[in-house]
């Protein structure tokens, strides 16, 4: 053990460095698209969950139960192995050329995270005084439009701290995509390790990068939050 020689040059330059960088790019792509899509889907599910239409409410509940109560890894495998069988050949071919692994991982991460986001947004909405909805509807806005312009913008602001958590989870969970061969950061660190046996260096680098991503997301949202809170302080 003690004879292990640290060699940081493996990860700071050369081919393996490039592998790690390309992995980082994929991780960032996966995380950012996942965050945006899961936020959108989460909003939609939250609105459906609160709709007065039974069908919407009911389907949202089923969706939430299924996605929150099954392991993410299983969901990733489901979309990767399972959906492949269900799709038309043409779609599969197109997906194969554009990176089916990435798409499957993105879908799984999006759906999984959106369930938690939906519940966070819903509690945010429930904390908005009902008079806001009354004021919006009195102006002639339908239920959906009232949600869109008046309730959700306020609810999302309140929901920011738990949302940040979900975004961080998503960024970290994206490492599970390596199991279906998405060449993201963890996958590449593993590759570097098996080519060079410099596992410590490779995974230290990966760890630092995940940490940095978390810090950056938290910082960005904090900045945004600060500005919003500024507005609500006032008199």
């Amino acid at each position: 053990m003690l004879s292990y020689k640290f060699d940081w040059s493996v990860i700071t330059s050369g081919q393996y460095h490039e592998w790690l960088i390309s992995g980082l790019k994929v991780t960032i792509q996966l995380s950012i698209s996942g965050i945006l899509l899961s936020f959108l889907l989460g909003l939609i599910v939250a609105v459906m969950r609160m709709s007065h239409l039974k069908l919407f409410r009911w389907s949202a509940c089923v969706f939430l139960e299924f996605t929150r109560n099954t392991p993410l890894l299983v969901q990733i495998f489901f979309w990767y192995f399972g959906s492949y069988k269900l799709l038309p050949t043409a779609v599969n071919e197109w997906l194969n050329n554009t990176g089916f692994e990435f798409a499957a991982a993105l879908i799984a991460l999006t759906i999984y995270t959106s369930a938690f986001i939906a519940e966070d947004i819903r509690s945010g909405v429930l904390s908005i005084p009902k008079e806001q909805m009354e004021a919006a509807q009195s102006s002639g806005f339908s239920y959906i439009r009232s949600m869109q312009y008046i309730i959700l913008p306020q609810a999302v602001r309140i929901t920011i701290p738990p949302l940040v958590n979900q975004f961080l989870n998503l960024a970290k969970n994206s490492s599970l995509a390596m199991t279906i061969g998405v060449m993201e950061l963890t996958y590449q660190a593993r590759q570097v390790e098996s080519y060079t046996f410099k596992g410590f260096e490779a995974f230290t680098a990966a760890t630092v990068v995940y940490l940095a991503i978390s810090v950056i997301i938290t910082f960005l949202v904090d900045q945004y939050n600060e500005r919003v809170l500024q507005i609500h302080k006032g008199a």
Binding site: Q132, S138, S139, G140, F141, P153, I231, G234
Partner: protein
């Protein structure tokens, strides 16, 4: 403009509106008063269907509210509603509070909507507050913005539910002045309020409610100087300052 015919409403077993018959003509200003819990808010909220009625007929601006084919959102756009607690949108600036509905529902361009909003804001003396957020305004200012928000839709009817009850006394005047101005311009208004000075000066009729029924309905002079029921007399005695009483013969 507004016609209640044998309207009834229950909250579970509580009979909040008991066989209401009431008519409001175009350009009329009606003041609704009565003891707490008598159903004033419920009555005014049925007019834009924030509270649906259970029984009877309610026609607003020619539309039957019980008729399934009535587009309630479209009708509500024609009716301004001013709340006791203002209920401005806290995440939007004053100007955005006012222009949101005209832009989204009336299809006005941002420029036109803001121009129109500024005219209204100037009228209520708040032009310089256009970019401020509601939390930075006093109660009286917030209520004037709320009235402006309603007016920006060019409504055919304005409803007020105790618009000055949440205000510090020194701010009541500024809000009443705006409402008075509006009444003079010929707006059809239904106002729930205990401001009897306002009722005297601008109301065409005063409606007195008690326990879910309309007990009295009369021009202000008649109602204040010559109330018919004991309940109304009792109510007025508790409410009126000697000054109000003094003007009766």
């Amino acid at each position: 403009m507004i016609q209640f015919t044998n309207v009834n409403k229950w909250f579970n077993t509580l009979h909040v509106l008991n066989n209401i018959n009431l008519q409001v003509k175009q350009g009329e200003v009606i003041v609704v008063c009565g003891p707490s819990g008598s159903g004033k808010s419920t009555l005014i909220r049925t007019i834009n269907q924030l509270e649906p009625i259970n029984d009877g007929k309610l026609i607003v601006d020619g539309k039957d509210l019980s008729d399934k084919s009535t587009d309630i959102n479209k009708l509500r756009a024609e009716i301004g509603f001013v709340f006791q607690q203002f209920n401005l949108y806290p995440h939007l600036s004053v100007i955005s509070n006012i222009t949101l509905a005209p832009i989204k529902l009336r299809g006005l361009s941002k420029k036109d909507a803001e121009e129109q909003a500024m005219q209204l804001l100037t009228r209520v003396g708040l032009a310089e507050k256009r970019d401020v957020y509601p939390s930075q305004l006093s109660g009286g200012q917030q209520q004037r913005v709320a009235i402006t928000r309603g007016l920006a839709m060019k409504p055919r009817i304005m409803l007020f539910d105790e618009p000055t009850s949440a205000l510090d006394p020194e701010m009541i005047g500024e809000v009443l002045a705006v409402m008075q101005d509006l009444a003079k311009s010929g707006m059809t208004m239904v106002v729930v309020t205990h401001e009897m000075g306002f009722a005297r000066e601008v109301a065409h009729r005063v409606v007195f409610m008690d326990a879910g029924t309309v007990l009295e309905e009369a021009p202000p002079e008649e109602f204040f100087c010559n109330p018919q029921t004991d309940r109304a007399k009792q109510f007025l005695n508790q409410l009126l300052t000697p000054m109000h009483g003094a003007t009766c013969n």
